[in-house]
């Protein structure tokens, strides 16, 4: 069952990476900067939530490259919806000026 609770940032980043065309575990790691120990479980979790689906790569293409077929991920419509609402959430954050904080003036 997809959970209606907001997605964690990591999950959003992964969905975003998949939407951006990164379909394999390693590409997603590179795109998000997350470690494999985070990305792979998260991919499985997102799949179980119905936000991603996974398939095995076409065997002929893999054989041509002399390597086994890889597992690659697709965004589902539910995943796309979840991603867009999550991005909206980030977009809705009020812009704040960080200048003062950078200067350390807050510790008055």
């Amino acid at each position: 069952m997809p959970k209606p609770t907001p997605l964690a940032f990591g999950s959003v980043a992964i969905l975003h990476a998949v939407a951006d065309g990164n379909r394999f575990g390693f590409d997603i790691m590179d795109a998000t900067g997350l470690t494999s120990g985070t990305v792979y479980p998260a991919l499985d979790k997102l799949e179980s939530m119905g936000y991603l689906t996974s398939r095995w790569e076409d065997a002929r293409a893999a054989r041509r490259d002399k390597r086994p077929p890889r597992r690659y991920f697709d965004l589902t419509p539910a995943g796309a919806a979840a991603l867009s609402s999550a991005l909206q959430r980030y977009k809705n954050l009020k812009p704040v000026s960080l200048a003062a904080w950078r200067l350390g003036k807050s510790e008055v």
Partner: protein, 888 residues
């Protein structure tokens, strides 16, 4: 291609790491990681810059191990539920008979609760529909030292509203009144109206779908604005939803009113279970009858208060108490009186405690039916668990954990429960119209309209979940309690059933039998009550007679003309053929609607310090006692000579005579009511006045000619079929005055049906539920006996091989079934004995521990149980011993 040693090491790590992953995911995990690593390796090889990053691959491979470990922890949650659902679904489909019986059983149990809840929901939350924030609406009643259910007078209402406390948003007052409506000089038609304060619609937050609601000035200036808002239903029914009705003139009780608006659809007024036709401003009341707007002592209006948001009932009560004290000090009429706030659902004006009590019984009964249904399905599941014992054992030895198996069993039971819940909602949906069968035959636009709405669906979901746990947990825990070795050793065909499991299943059957016995005993008590109630002496013996409601007020009669009309009308009716006797009364005994009472002083009787002498009374015409067949114990009946010009007289009942004229002759005694002094001229036998269950109460009769009222019931005692004189009556009335319509014509026998309405309703509900419970328990008993007999097949085979006859086998199985039944009956009798006392007050002429009901029910259950056991017993006795033993 010879692989780089580094790559081989990486792949070896993945090969070894796969044992970290759970079995179900091992292959895929390894495949995924090998492919990803090989691909990455190729990419790094092709890009010279990447060669240095090869070491980084090890870090990434470490993530693979974390992934594998994570899968081991989480794959259960990810996969098992879907796997269990799929498995449970397959089981359900594979055993359709089991599934159908279980789903139907649960459906009946859940459906009973859902439909009962929809009634309760209707009362608790939809008593006043189509208004804003109904939960803020609270009923207000006037109180005196001894009573808490009085209405309010109009001056009091104005005073409370003027001093509106901070906790209260607003007040409204209203009263229901039947009216005669004529449109374009057509036939007069009876409509049900509410006279309401000018702020009625505004305070309730009800809009009009067409036109407008009342304006402030229409609620403040008497007799100036004859306007009316009609209900949506009435608009559709009477005016075919014609929008041009707004602005038209209709005549109500002889006064021309302008229709100014149509109330929004769904708003039916502020009377419980009634669909009102129209609303008029209270300010028009003086035009429609004797002015009651200016008498502070005249308490005739129901009141609803809207609390401010976040204000509790207690705070508003405190605020209003202060005002009440103030008013009591200012006005003599208000001395000693106060007000009391009550939630609408238990307010006296909304039917009060009696309806709430009946609903309580309904919910409790439905709950019992659900328990029986759960026990039944739990039993079915136990039976299937017995045959799945091997499967369970094998899975346990292969490493499944008990929590895993319990989770799976609960998933299966939830699947059944959800299917049952859906069936239940469907049942409730189909049967919701049956509620209208329980509508009493009263001359009112009654509508009991339970809705299967969102709240009810939420309730249904909650009940479904509860049942899943109730019946699913038993077999699950039962399974968990036995050990693997035991489970493996046992086989489905063991010579004797597992003692523990058999014991549990027997206990469930015993519980079912006990619960159904309780329901059946209750049903029996109410059936006997119904029979008794129908034969209770209502105090009058006339059965062949006709009751006709008439109302002179709308036809424009004043008191003097009304008196004359009644005298002439009675004289003509008495002359007509087939009429033995005729009279009038302000109200007929045992009808709907309360009794009136008034404070009195009785000469020669000194009330106790805190006693208020308050006498119930009825206004009657001459020959009333004779017409209804009420024996006169002493003195005389009212005659045509007891007119307004003659001294005030009264007839009292035996109880009044006994209580207030103890040791004295009541005839010639004096009762003082306000300024009037009534002389007792007769004593009538006691009767039932409001309800068939009431205990004798003091009662007095007043002559209609001396205490005139325009609305009355004409009572006609006939020689033959009461219906046959209806045309004659119409003729008489047309001759006397064509403007006076006859309405609500019914026979006395029909009227008496109303008196037993509550008993009939409870009896039919309990009988229906009792029958349902009996069916469920029978199915349960049959199932268990059949399963136990099937499990004992080898034993039976052996017994037969050793010389047992078929009769021996039948009696062996029957004994087992009867043992369970009798235990259940014993438990049930004890339970019924304890529980039936609770509804003592609803019973008539039968004690809560009535022997006949208890004995008859017990007998019925034993017979049904024997029948349920006989089939499996007979089947067991036909076992071929050779076949049975070969299976071993």
């Amino acid at each position: 291609m010879r692989r780089n040693p580094l790559l081989r090491l990486l792949l070896a790590i993945i090969d070894a790491g796969r044992w970290l992953a759970p079995a179900s995911r091992r292959r895929d995990w390894r495949r995924q990681w090998r492919a990803d690593i090989l691909h990455e390796w190729q990419w790094l090889t092709r890009h010279p810059k990447g060669v240095g990053d090869r070491a980084g691959l090890f870090v990434r491979a470490a993530g693979a191990l974390r992934h594998a470990f994570w899968l081991r922890l989480h794959v259960r949650r990810l996969e098992m539920i879907t796997q269990d659902i799929r498995y449970g679904w397959r089981l359900m489909v594979r055993k359709p008979a089991f599934t159908i019986v279980a789903v139907l059983t649960l459906g009946l149990g859940i459906g009973a609760n859902v439909s009962m809840y929809s009634w309760v929901d209707g009362r608790m939350r939809h008593l006043v529909d189509g208004v804003e924030q109904p939960d803020r609406l609270i009923a207000l009643n006037g109180t005196t030292r001894t009573r808490e259910n009085l209405s309010l007078s109009y001056p009091d209402f104005e005073d409370y509203r003027r001093r509106l406390p901070a906790s209260v948003a607003d007040f409204i007052v209203y009263t229901m009144t039947p009216m005669n409506m004529r449109v374009d000089n057509g036939e007069p038609q009876r409509v049900f109206a509410e006279m309401v304060s000018g702020n009625y619609f505004e305070m309730l937050g009800t809009r009009t779908s067409l036109g407008r609601a009342f304006r402030p000035e229409e609620g403040t200036i008497p007799n100036r604005y004859p306007v009316t808002v009609i209900s949506h239903k009435f608009w559709v029914r009477r005016f075919a939803a014609d929008p041009s009705v707004v602005g038209r003139t209709i005549t109500l009780n002889g006064v021309a009113f302008t229709v100014i608006g149509i109330a929004q659809n769904g708003f039916h007024g502020t009377e419980p279970y009634l669909n009102l036709d129209l609303w008029v401003p209270l300010m028009m009341q003086p035009a429609l009858g004797p002015d009651r707007l200016h008498t502070r002592g005249s308490r005739w209006l129901e009141t609803i208060v809207r609390l401010k948001p976040d204000v509790g009932l207690a705070r508003a009560q405190t605020d209003l108490d202060l005002i009440a004290r103030d008013l009591g000090a200012t006005y003599a009429d208000d001395a000693g009186s106060g007000v009391k706030l009550t939630e609408l659902w238990r307010a006296p004006s909304m039917g009060g405690a009696a309806v709430t009590a009946v609903m309580g019984v309904q919910l409790a009964v439905a709950g019992v039916v659900l328990l029986i249904a759960c026990a039944n399905v739990a039993n079915l599941l136990l039976a299937s668990a017995a045959t799945r014992q091997r499967e369970t054992a094998v899975r346990l030895t292969l490493g499944a954990s008990w929590s895993r198996l319990i989770q799976q069993m609960l998933t299966e039971s939830s699947l059944l429960a959800i299917a049952g819940g859906i069936a239940g909602v469907l049942f409730a949906w189909w049967t919701k119209d049956l509620a209208s069968l329980l509508v009493p035959p009263a001359p009112l636009p009654i509508e009991i309209n339970p809705q299967v709405n969102g709240d009810v669906l939420i309730f249904a979901a909650a009940v479904t979940l509860l049942t899943a746990v109730l019946f699913g947990l038993v077999p699950a825990l039962q399974g968990a309690a036995s050990s693997v070795i035991e489970a493996l050793k046992e086989s489905a065909t063991a010579v004797t059933a597992t003692p523990r499991r058999a014991r549990l299943r027997k206990a469930l059957v015993v519980a079912q039998v006990a619960l159904s016995l309780i329901l059946l005993v209750s049903a029996g008590l109410f059936l006997r009550t119904l029979m008794n109630a129908q034969s209770v002496d209502p105090g009058f013996s006339t059965r062949r007679g006709l009751l006709v409601a008439i109302d002179l007020q709308p036809a424009g009669y004043d008191t003097a003309h009304g008196r004359t009309f009644f005298r002439d009308m009675l004289a003509r009716v008495r002359e007509s053929a087939g009429v033995e006797s005729a009279s009038v009364a302000a109200r007929m005994s045992l009808g709907f609607g309360g009794n009136s009472d008034m404070g009195a002083k009785i000469d020669g009787y000194t009330p106790a310090p805190n006693e208020e002498v308050s006498l119930y009374y009825n206004r009657i015409g001459s020959d009333y006692l004779k017409t209804l067949g009420i024996p006169l114990m002493a003195g005389r009946e009212f005659t045509e000579l007891d007119t307004a010009e003659r001294p005030d007289v009264t007839i009292v009942n035996e109880t009044l005579a006994r209580r207030y004229f103890a040791g004295r002759d009541p005839i010639g005694g004096h009762i003082r009511v306000g300024p009037r002094d009534l002389q007792v001229v007769g004593v009538a036998r006691d009767g039932k006045y409001s309800t068939i269950t009431e205990s004798p109460r003091p009662y007095m009769y007043l002559p209609m000619q001396q205490w005139y009222r325009g609305d009355a019931v004409l009572i006609v005692k006939t020689a033959g079929d009461p219906g046959s004189i209806v045309p004659q009556l119409h003729q008489i009335f047309r001759k006397l005055d064509a403007n006076v319509p006859l309405f609500d014509v019914r026979t006395i026998a029909e009227h008496l049906e109303i008196a037993v309405f509550v008993q009939r309703m409870v009896a039919s509900l309990l009988t229906a539920f009792g029958a349902l419970a009996l069916i469920l328990a029978t199915v349960g008993l049959y199932g268990v006996i059949a399963a136990l007999a099937a499990q004992r097949t080898p034993e039976i085979g052996m017994r037969m091989a050793l010389g047992a006859t078929r009769g021996d086998i039948v009696s062996l199985i029957l004994k087992q079934g009867l043992g369970m039944t009798l235990t259940g009956i014993a438990v049930g009798l004890a339970g019924a004995f304890a529980l039936t006392r609770l509804f003592k007050s609803l019973l008539v002429g039968v004690s809560a521990t009535d022997g006949v009901s208890f004995a008859a029910t017990t007998l019925l259950l034993v017979l049904v149980a024997l029948a349920a056991c006989y089939l499996p017993a007979r089947r067991a006795s036909r076992i071929d011993p050779l076949q049975a033993l070969r299976n071993e």
